[in-house]
């Protein structure tokens, strides 16, 4: 898999539609390195001087080359491809090699695999050229020179390689520039010409590496590659070509970041329950949005929905220049095998998604569940908790009757003449250790309207009768 124009893709990934954009490098001289299709239509070509490019397209947006972002994008591509096969290897600066021989059956053949891979890459916003061949080196050469070509391992497949331009063997650094000049000087401009050169003659000119490279591409000698390992934490950054302060473009860009996060989680067989999104501004410190989901999961749609709720509530202090996503402490969660008759976990996921949605819009303190606590005082016999968790049982039940409704603060009663005391008194005297000690006699009383109230008489100063609950 080859990412063409990688310096340019770093910037255009975050946009639905890139305008006239060109990437500039400053060494060896200030020239245009890559240009977007809109810029090319104006006449800007890679290799032009910057002054010339601006003369041709006055509305051109220029960005400096960002090498770290290019490496990060390659890692994103690796994560995305890692969802399909675990055998992955990077070929810097802009290629990734995926070993698929063992998973072809799962995806229904090479054509099915390439289609699904193309869909996944499009969802990430990456423009990738694919090619398939029996050896990794041949596959990378084909991706660079003949994208879309797929070669099966039939006898005689190496004939295809003979037609490729000779500059390809210089990738990887094993063949030096002098060797390349030598080969061009003797008139070998296709790869096939190297095969006919005598080995000892090449050795005398210190160009043995050339034939070694060709042998590896043909599969005659093995070509071991280091496997790619996904990093333990995930941090990705997306540069926006122009400062943005509307919600929709931010959500669109974040969708790419979340897709990358989901791919990294799949490769690591993990799930997370919190992540941080940083909105970078030009002159101010970054704005942090912390997204917390109830249960660890990898669903990017859920994260996107929660981010939408957070952004709707947030006031942006300044336009956003770049987005950063950070996630650490993943939890190991192997994938569930598919059930033939529907997912039994779908009901539970729907329930948790509802809680996340409510918390994101109403705030965390407006949504809660109840749990029992050990305590004689009515206020301490319960506490709020995250809904749905089942706490350990073993709390003793109260001896007397308890009402279904409890008032937040006991309401003083003017007089108790209209009330008929039905049961009681139940003396509750407790809490001297934290300063909220109470000494109360609780009664169940019937009010004048036949409702049942839970009232108490406070025995400390100043005393008096209070209503504390209703038997709903």
């Amino acid at each position: 898999m080859h990412l063409p124009d990688l310096p340019l893709q770093v910037f255009t990934r975050g946009l639905a539609e890139a305008g006239a954009l060109a990437v500039v490098e400053h060494r060896p001289r200030q020239q245009v390195l890559a240009a977007s299709p809109a810029a090319r239509a104006c006449g800007v070509e890679p290799g032009m001087r910057v002054v010339g490019a601006l003369a041709v397209a006055p509305g051109l947006v220029l960005r400096d080359r960002d090498v770290a972002a290019e490496r990060a994008l390659l890692a994103v591509l690796a994560n995305c491809a890692g969802c399909f096969s675990p055998a992955l290897s990077l070929d810097p600066p802009d290629c990734v090699m995926l070993e698929v021989g063992t998973c072809l059956r799962l995806f229904g053949g090479l054509a099915g695999l390439i289609e699904r891979l193309a869909d996944a890459l499009a969802a990430q916003g990456l423009d990738v050229r694919l090619a398939a061949a029996p050896t990794p080196l041949a596959a990378s050469w084909l991706a660079l020179a003949r994208p879309g070509r797929r070669i099966e391992a039939k006898p005689g497949w190496t004939e295809v390689l003979n037609d490729l331009p000779i500059e390809l063997i210089a990738r990887g650094g094993q063949v030096s520039k002098d060797n390349l000049t030598l080969l061009r000087g003797i008139g070998a401009d296709r790869v096939g010409a190297i095969a006919r050169l005598p080995r000892d003659a090449l050795a005398r000119r210190e160009a043995v590496a050339v034939s070694a490279v060709l042998a590896r591409a043909r599969g005659e000698i093995p070509d071991p590659r280091p496997w790619y390992q996904a990093p333990p934490t995930h941090a990705s950054r997306l540069l926006l070509p122009a400062p943005v302060d509307a919600t929709e473009p931010l959500l669109f860009a974040c969708r790419r970041l979340f897709a990358g996060l989901a791919a990294w989680l799949t490769v690591r067989l993990a799930a997370i329950d919190r992540c941080q999104v940083f909105l970078e501004h030009e002159d101010r410190p970054d704005t942090l949005i912390e997204i917390v989901t109830g249960e660890p999961g990898r669903c990017e749609a859920r994260l996107g929905m929660l981010l939408r709720e957070h952004l709707n509530r947030l006031e942006l202090p300044a336009p956003v220049e770049a987005l950063r996503l950070h996630a650490d402490c993943p939890v190991f969660q192997p994938a569930r095998s598919q059930d033939l008759f529907g997912d039994p976990h779908a009901a539970r996921d729907g329930a948790l998604r509802l809680v996340d949605r409510l918390c994101a819009r109403l705030g965390n303190d407006a949504v809660f569940g109840l749990r029992l606590q050990d305590g004689h005082r009515p206020e301490t016999a319960w506490s709020a908790m995250r809904p749905g968790h089942r706490p350990a049982s073993g709390v003793q039940a109260a001896p007397g009757q308890r009402p279904l409704w409890l008032l937040d603060e006991p309401r003083p009663l003017a007089a108790i003449d209209e009330l008929r005391l039905l049961s009681g008194p139940e003396r509750i005297e407790s809490g001297w250790w934290d300063g909220h000690d109470i000494r109360r006699d609780y009664f169940v009383a019937r009010g004048p309207d036949d409702a049942l109230w839970w009232i108490f008489r406070a025995l400390d100063e100043p005393g008096g009768w209070y209503v504390h609950g209703y038997f709903g």
Partner: protein, 238 residues
């Protein structure tokens, strides 16, 4: 019209193609059992409707309005919430646990304003993850009621809507409206609206955990009807 409805052949009546005005509607699904046989007998489908708003009108707390809902909530399947939106007071956990309710399924939502309560109720209904939703609202307008009705129908989740007494006079799209009255030995229920014939009987429901002076049994207590019944049509319990 003759008072004797038996002139029609029995198989025609039993086929369900003819509905007579003194019969309760039979909905597509049976209702959730309310836990009170006296009330089940008066409701179409033999229980709470599965996809409608159930209005419970009462003016004061403490008469047993929560206990009316609890038997149905106790029987909810696992991994389904019982969502309570904007309750007027705090539901007390020890009492709920003592009545057999599973606290791990309770989802309490206390938004800051009324519009958010309506939004939260709609989200809970639309998610399909709730066994039942209860909303306490002092003044709710007709368009919000209509939206909640559509949400309840779409996801087949019952919504228990607690409203004050003043709401009994205004029309509502709810399929079932019950007026709750305080009674010394239980809860009195008058059915204001149902899919069936009009009835004015006061149903007396025995609440298990309330103190009673004398052991009471379920009894039907007829109030005088507002106007004399038209000749030939007698509302009868089914």
């Amino acid at each position: 019209m003759s008072a004797r409805a038996t002139t029609l052949p029995a198989e025609l009546l039993a086929s369900g193609l003819i509905w007579q005005a003194d019969r309760l509607a039979s909905p597509a699904w049976p209702g959730w059992p309310t836990g009170f046989p006296v009330l089940d007998a008066e409701l179409p489908g033999g229980g709470w409707p599965r996809d409608a708003i159930i209005e419970l009108i009462s003016d004061r707390p403490g008469i047993g309005e929560l206990q009316l809902m609890l038997p149905m909530l106790r029987s909810s399947p696992p991994a389904r919430w019982a969502a309570w939106v904007a309750p007027p007071f705090l539901p007390y956990a020890p009492a709920l646990a003592a009545s057999g309710f599973d606290l791990g399924r309770l989802l309490l939502i206390r938004p800051h304003d009324h519009a958010r309560s309506i939004w939260a109720t709609r989200q809970a209904l639309n998610s399909g993850a709730c066994h039942a939703v209860a909303l306490w609202s002092r003044n709710i307008d007709a368009s919000a009621l209509r939206r909640l009705q559509l949400a309840a129908e779409a996801s087949a989740t019952p919504l228990f809507l607690y409203r004050p007494n003043a709401a009994a006079r205004s029309p509502s799209p709810a399929a079932l409206r019950l007026q709750l009255l305080a009674r010394p030995d239980g809860l009195g229920v008058v059915i204001l609206k149902r899919k069936g014939p009009v009835t004015h009987t006061l149903l007396r429901l025995a609440l298990p955990s309330r103190l009673r002076r004398s052991p009471a049994h379920d009894a039907l207590d007829s109030l005088a009807p507002a106007r004399p019944a038209a000749a030939g049509i007698h509302p009868g319990p089914r």
